[in-house]
Symmetry: C2
Subunit: 256 residues, 2 copies
Amino acid sequence: MHTEKPLILITNDDGITAPGIRALIEAVSDLGDVVIVAPDSPQSGMGHAITISKPLRLDKTDIYKNLKAYQCSGTPADCVKLAVDKVLHRKPDLLISGINHGSNSSINILYSGTMSAAMEGAIEGIPSVGFSLCNFAYDADFSAAKKIVKIICKNTLKNGLPVGTLLNVNIPNVSELKGIKVCRQANAKWQEEFDERKDPNGRNYYWLTGKFVNNDKGDDTDEWALANNFVSVVPVHFDLTAHHAIAFVNEWDLGV
Amino acid sequence: MHTEKPLILITNDDGITAPGIRALIEAVSDLGDVVIVAPDSPQSGMGHAITISKPLRLDKTDIYKNLKAYQCSGTPADCVKLAVDKVLHRKPDLLISGINHGSNSSINILYSGTMSAAMEGAIEGIPSVGFSLCNFAYDADFSAAKKIVKIICKNTLKNGLPVGTLLNVNIPNVSELKGIKVCRQANAKWQEEFDERKDPNGRNYYWLTGKFVNNDKGDDTDEWALANNFVSVVPVHFDLTAHHAIAFVNEWDLGV
């Protein structure tokens, strides 16, 4: 009989000292044995970057008192890889990443270090969930988010997840949540506009800015859920094959 | 009537001076007007990283003689965003990324800067293709790859691609190609093993290494095609929703 407490690996992309990861730790600390392996500095927008051309540091830290915690010089995906290979004595029962300061809904999942850590966990066969609160502020209120984290984590520990899938959970920044909705990823994008400036030497430089555009009118999307004060839960996988396009390309003249 | 020549945007992740991008430029230079916007330094393993916490540089360069070329301090995804907003006078008819030095088949697509540039193009509504040669060497022979690039680009310019899709093209490193196969992404992964070393001060550091493991026995995958000397073409999309898992999660107790 398996009598060990569940082993829960925690990471994020805002860095090991961010309020969001502290909220995540508090939310699940009574659900199992917690181990933290998180970046030693903010890694937002890192997507699924991994570190291949330089070595990584991995150092024990006591900032979370009695909890086993390590800070890593790499990306969120690096943290998960290192945790699995060098820190944990067995495969964890749950990997959670976040709570991200800011939304990772719809297309934002692609750019998200939070979600790439969860995806790396799913690749390793670990039931994995990324959490984000739709509030970028450092002093955001995570109290409602913590309740959601607990509900989702209890369910994931109890039921597992289908092979090769993970969850992208986004929490609207409101005090009155209407509920939790299982959704699909909305077809939305960023309309980029770079802010062009001149440095003191007269050379141009550019700041990324942009406007979020949701072209998806469906009421089954994560954007719809968030706009209507629901928590969005999108089951995600890492098979990027566009199966519906295979027949299209098979019509092409591809003789070599 | 549209009488302009096709406008082709070219980028990569190995940097603007890499042999692979030079091969790509040569392969398509008679298919349309070529504009190059590529990283000023190697960006391998950057996944879909974007630069949000510092500004970007974008500078004209004449290394490709009469061709319009810019080097950018950002990631491959940044290059595409900047090209669309600041360099091109209209939406290009084709975006190509590569030729990457090394495979981006199966799970490698997630870590690939080459493919993230192509994905960014697809998000912008541009027919986009990423090319990779299964040879990491700087002096790899790109001659067979150039013929494949031309075949795929001609077809893409002629037929377009279904909305929201792009192509991941991998070319085996053999002189006798058997043909081109349209495939699905294989279910494969890296078995990580970090090489643990001590620096001169006695502190540990870690190099990422690993073994590629293909658990997918299907003969319709990109890994199968490459192992059998076929070029693999995987249609890819950026809707990561695991639609088959929505019903599973809907069974959970998600009352708040």
